[in-house]
Symmetry: C2
Subunit: 100 residues, 2 copies
């Protein structure tokens, strides 16, 4: 069942184009993760936060990625990682044009 | 600038098809909100949580919707609503096939 992974964390930048330049190779590697479908990269320069919304093929691949990514973020100096795993309600998402 | 709204809250159900049946009209009304692009409906029967990931045309429409929706959820008896507003990093999302 399609699984949505919601991740956010305190982040001091870079944001915007500078973030895109710094993290291009990371984004390319994420696209190759097992079970990965897509990621929307999120950022908020005002609240000093960043994160991502991911869609995975199933709960196992989402949880495996989350464990790896949490360790990686801590290696980058991120102090705390907020994460939640959800199933997608397909029928309601379809009414609201949700891209799942 | 496209704005992502991340919402989750404690929820005792219904989940799955029962949730879809109960909330079909709400989903139809959400599709008509100003600035709304899409919503993915999220649920987790194990952790007793639900929520949604939304994409809006801009920050103003996202924040206005969030105020209205938070009040509505509290009216449904939801005790606490976790919400974050983010900008989308388009360049990185494009590499990871993010549907924005």
């Amino acid at each position: 069942m399609k699984t949505l992974l919601q991740v956010d964390f305190p982040f001091d930048g870079p944001f915007g184009q500078e973030m895109a330049d710094a993290m291009k190779e990371l984004a390319e590697s994420i696209a190759k993760e097992p079970g990965f479908i897509w990621k929307i990269w999120t950022e908020n320069a005002e609240t000093r936060e960043a994160g991502g919304i991911y869609l995975f093929e199933g709960g196992a691949s989402a949880r495996k990625y989350l464990d790896m990514h949490t360790a990686r973020l801590k290696g980058f100096g991120v102090p705390v990682v907020n994460a939640k795993v959800f199933q997608v309600n397909d029928a309601l998402s379809a009414i609201d044009h949700g891209p799942v």
